[in-house]
Amino acid sequence: MKIELRKPEFVMKLDRLGSFHQSKLSFLRSFIREFKDWDFQTHELKLDNSGFGHGVYVVQKGNKQYSLVCFSNHLDENERSDRVIATKWDASFVLYDGIPSSADIQRLKENVPLQEQGRVTEKELCLSRANKSVRVFEHVVDQLSQGQQPDTSLLYNVGYLYRTTAVYGSGKFGLADRIKIQDREELKGPFRLEMMLVFLARQFTFDVVNHVAYHRSPTTSVKLSDDIARNLGIGNSTGLGMAPFIVNHPALLNQWIMAKEKALRAIRLLESVNEIEKNNFQSYLSTIQDNIKYWKTDSDYQIQKNGQLTNDLKDFQKYFNTKKIEKYFWNEVYEWVEKNTHAECCEFIVSLMMEVYPDIVEPLSYEMSINEENYFDIDTTRNIQDICNLIEKQYTWLLEIDFEQKDNIYNFWYYSKNKQEPRLSDRFSEEGADLELPLAIARDIHHLYKGLKKMDPKKDISFYLSKNQQYRHVLRRVFICEQLPYSEIQDNTISKTLIPVDMLRLKLSFFGATRFDPRSDRWVRITMYQGAPLMKEISLSNDNWSYKKIA
């Protein structure tokens, strides 16, 4: 039996990438697997009666230590603005390398709540902030202070107490550069520190509600039950800032997708499958079908996708009920799903199949990082014909696009001056297209190709570069794509029909986000760590927590 990896021209379309779901490869799950034998402790919690102050959580193993320093500040309602104009937040977080001294905490207190306007140092590793979900926070505190547990239907419809709006790492705002920590064994997987920050921040949200409820009524209050807390994650509100990342990091993107594709192929190649494995799959499927009812969204786009998923899963269930175990069972299942369901369901089933085979999937999570510097340089010894051939082979999809057509160049990406975050606008009615970011990959490779076709094909690409440097930034991508086939999104990222939220969904699914709730075509709310073990029980985690019933 020969089964190839799924082809990049199939996988790398945005409508499929925007249908990816969390899986065993997701970073927050691999973080828990990696750190489950570390010691997690609340080191310090200095909050006033209203819950304002700071807390420190320490994660350690041997002489290795990381600390999350959390600050909780008073925020007027009119200051609780979403990320576009926000300059203040209910809570802010910084992950510290080691255990901070009181002088460090004082320094961080003066800077971390300011976020982009503050400065941190190379002792700090990640930075983030969060706002309360006001209706949930107040309800929980109110109920706990009266000695009652909160209304879980309200809680689970939202899914969290606080919602982060950004998690920064890798040298931003003075944070430690990636190079400082990249060789640490425990940080080999992608985004380990960011996932640590979010996991510990979730614990802080529980500690704050318990603390405030207690001080509101010390004699009657109770603590939030572990069962309820476990089913609360931490929210995240994400805009376009995340989208350029996956375009700007083609080698990394390849590693993420390649790990998933290798896992799928390995499972499809399993010749024999037993009843236990089939039943495990069915058990995960049944649980998650129950949990889908908590995926709330007002987005027509996502409502349609969730509806398709629900309907497709019903059809799939009928098929699966009658499907007998035979040779290459999973390959047949996959082929049925690919043929008979939409991308949303197909990728959902792929994630579920991965659940059944931890021995196949989990080792692949260590292949999801890469040294991108190794792919930066252009091999100028190759001749122009070679490059044209590569473009024709790897970028066939873009050669037929007419970039004279307005709709095909409708959008431009730029950095906003006030927030220094990526944005997307209509080039024909908004100013600023002259400052366009180099994210129009399809258009620029198209132009590179046209330019190369006018030159002597036998000449080295160095000859072209001596005369033309305009498309150097995409020329290097052609070489990356030759070595790393899943490095390029195969869609026009400036077309009028682009749905940017698909780009966000791709990245967030690898983070391990659930409950995608797009608030527009370029802004999405999600939940992380819902159902995950609490800090005190992380050592008991068996990695099945994503597939536990929420209620």
Partner: protein, 198 residues
């Protein structure tokens, strides 16, 4: 002090703001990052060529070009990085003047390693060899046969090699690649709402 990430992105954006292509800007960002990481004053050198003006610098695009005064170290370095695999490049060339030669060095180092070649740069002011080995050689005669009463400081702390004024000037230039947001753009460009009170 700024992180290497901040140095790379600020240099990249300020190079773009001065009219260089994105591809070249990416190269210079990485080059200055390497210099700063090596404890060399890359950022100050870059600021000097920005102050001198890219319009006043000569791009090397042809090894036989007539004008070679005030050569731009970025294009000079990238030219050799791109072209020095060619056999016809393996000879001695003479140029009139090169601004801020430090900036070209990371490009020569890459070219030397990639093509297993040696660069010997010689003038009355400088005498340096760049080799495909791990060490860039300095004049052997500059190394004494013994040293006395010496110390070695081992630290993880990188030293800032540039003035705060230089950073601020380049940072302001980097902002010129950003687009001023109108109220309308805040909504349409980012797509987010304005209230988080739910």
């Amino acid at each position: 002090m700024h992180s290497l990430y901040e140095i790379e992105t600020t240099v990249k954006r300020s190079a773009k703001s001065q009219g260089l292509s994105w591809g070249i800007s990416e190269e210079i960002g990485k080059s200055i990052r390497i210099l700063e990481q090596s404890g060399l004053q890359g950022l100050e050198s870059f600021k000097n060529i920005v102050d001198f003006g890219f319009d006043n610098l000569t791009k090397l695009t042809d090894i036989n070009q007539k004008t070679t005064t005030h050569l731009c170290p970025i294009h000079f370095g990238i030219f050799f990085q791109d072209q020095s695999h060619l056999k016809e490049m393996h000879q001695t060339f003479k140029f009139e003047s090169l601004k801020e030669p430090l900036i070209s060095i990371p490009f020569f180092i890459k070219a030397a390693k990639k093509n297993l070649i040696y660069f010997h740069i010689h003038s009355s002011e400088i005498n340096i060899s760049i080799t495909p080995g791990e060490m860039t050689s300095i004049n052997q005669n500059q190394i004494p046969t013994s040293i006395n009463n010496f110390s070695i400081k081992v630290t993880q702390q990188r030293q800032q090699q540039y003035s705060n004024e230089t950073w601020e000037d380049l940072y302001q230039l980097s902002l010129e690649t950003f687009v001023e947001e109108t109220e309308e753009k805040k909504l349409s460009g980012a797509g987010a709402g304005l209230s988080d009170n739910d």
